[in-house]
């Protein structure tokens, strides 16, 4: 009786790797960068909307990210660093997502007709993702560059002046819609792309409910926040450029303000 272990079965394929590992890496990178950006945007909305609590609350959040409460003085460069990271991830995500865009007139027509006749929600959502993603190629860099070079101008009056006197509100309005719609669909898509559901029908129903709930929540929050900045900017238009001085914050900094 031969008790020797069986020889390993040979693979019928060449031992030499012919296929590049990059398609797998790019797919993961696209999903990973999208996940990062989607979650970042939700957190970002949380920070921005503190203006609805009070100007002091937003001032505190803005200074917190400049390390003021750790180092005793603000370092706006820290914000620039985060902006640079987000900018880099955005560029990476846009580059990777471009691979999925329809490439020519035929592909656009074919997809448009397909989506039109199929009457299928998830297919239509993809068109929304393409449109909002395309819009962000142009909208997001304007905002990001501003934040990169002038991180110190994040504050109740500073931001409100940018929104109203600086004429940024139309851009922010469109950007808000694009970001929230794109991010919501994208995060939903990530879930159905990577998670193997036992019961996909009910899982998707719940995910879509959650997705639309989050999108509506963040859109409403964003619209109210933007309205608050517009209102503040209108009231402050005569003194545009003046830095905000907190009223009721403990340990408020002795900050040079232009009067």
């Amino acid at each position: 009786m031969n008790n020797a272990p069986p020889a390993p079965r040979p693979s019928p394929f060449s031992p030499f790797r012919r296929t590049s590992p990059w398609p797998a890496r790019l797919d993961l990178l696209q999903s990973g960068s999208g996940l990062f950006l989607g979650l970042f945007m939700w957190a970002h909305m949380g920070f921005v909307s503190t203006i609805l609590i009070s100007p002091d609350a937003f001032w505190t959040v803005a200074r917190f990210f400049e390390g003021y409460f750790i180092f005793g003085r603000p370092y706006p460069g820290l914000v620039s660093l985060v902006v640079a990271l987000v900018f880099a991830v955005l560029v990476l995500h846009a580059f990777l997502a471009l691979r999925k865009f329809p490439g020519d007139w035929t592909q656009y027509t074919v997809f448009w007709r397909h989506a039109g006749r199929l009457g299928h929600g998830d297919t239509r959502l993809w068109l929304l993702q393409v449109a909002t993603g395309f819009a962000m190629f142009f909208l997001a860099p304007v905002h990001l560059y501003q934040m990169l070079v002038h991180p110190e101008l994040i504050g109740p009056w500073e931001s409100a002046d940018r929104v109203w006197s600086g004429g940024f509100w139309p851009l922010y309005l469109v950007l808000l819609l694009a970001v929230e719609l794109h991010g919501g669909v994208g995060l939903y898509r990530l879930a159905v792309k990577w998670i193997g559901f036992r019961d996909p029908a009910s899982a998707r129903r719940r995910l879509l409910f959650l997705k639309w709930g989050m999108t509506v929540f963040f859109l409403v929050l964003g619209l109210f926040s933007l309205a608050a900045y517009v209102k503040l900017g209108m009231d402050h238009a005569d003194q545009a450029g003046e830095r905000y001085r907190p009223v009721g914050v403990w340990n408020a900094p002795v900050q040079e303000t232009r009067t």
Partner: protein, 239 residues
């Protein structure tokens, strides 16, 4: 009193030089339990003997009668007219070679896909017809059988925006086949071998998770589950 149905049917014979693609309306009275198979049969018998469409089993097993029913891919033999409005449009499945009218050559597409993906069992080459086959865990056999229920009707390809846009995409039917052979303990291929055939943008990484396949599959296969699993498994090959 039953309804009077109007079927708008795509008509074109690509082998006839004079034929121009267009549609023709057929009016007929609905009968109880009428399927599109019955309706089309009656049209051919009573109104237009030249109408082309494919049927073999009439029971949702052969996958020949897939077509676009009011824009949605489905099997004509499994679709009750009662579930549809009085105006019904029938078009051939997009993405496949047109034979004529509602008949498309899904077989040609499926064969090319199978050959490209090597969608057959790759055993160790030591098969012996005189030896008793190795037993398989019932759970494994069940899981393989579940994926084998695919009838290659082509609905998932016609329902997939990616496949429509990019003709080299293997579609859910192809990815489902890979998942099926991956499950099979008799198949000696490794993840790296499967990555060779579907590890790019025309394979699993091209899937944009639009889930048209999942929603139109007439056999109710959980294609989302299979594709997500395959994506996770093959993504590991990137490192």
């Amino acid at each position: 009193m039953g309804r009077r149905l109007t079927l708008t049917v795509f008509r074109h014979n690509p082998r006839e030089a004079s034929s121009r693609p267009g549609t023709r309306d057929y009016v007929l009275d609905e009968t109880p339990g009428m399927t599109l198979f019955v309706a089309l049969g009656r049209i051919r018998d009573e109104q237009d003997p030249g109408l082309n469409f494919d049927f073999v089993c009439r029971a949702g097993v052969c996958g020949s009668c897939a077509m676009l029913i009011n824009g949605r891919p489905g099997l004509a033999c499994r679709t009750l007219t009662a579930a549809l409005p009085e105006r019904i449009s029938l078009f051939p499945l997009p993405g496949f070679e047109l034979i004529g009218d509602l008949s498309v050559n899904t077989g040609k597409w499926m064969r090319a896909m199978s050959e490209r993906l090597r969608a057959w069992l790759h055993d160790a080459g030591d098969a012996d017809p005189d030896r008793l086959e190795a037993p398989m865990e019932p759970a494994t056999a069940e899981a393989i059988y579940e994926l084998e229920r695919c009838i290659e009707c082509g609905c998932c390809v016609a329902g997939c925006g990616t496949a429509q846009m990019r003709p080299d995409f293997v579609g859910a039917v192809g990815l489902n086949k890979i998942a099926r052979f991956h499950l099979d303990p008799r198949d000696v291929r490794s993840d790296a071998d499967f990555y060779e055939v579907v590890g790019d943008d025309s394979g699993v990484f091209g899937c944009m998770s639009l889930l048209g396949c999942q929603d139109v599959c007439p056999k109710g296969l959980s294609l989302q589950t299979q594709i997500a699993w395959l994506r996770r498994t093959l993504a590991r090959q990137g490192w």
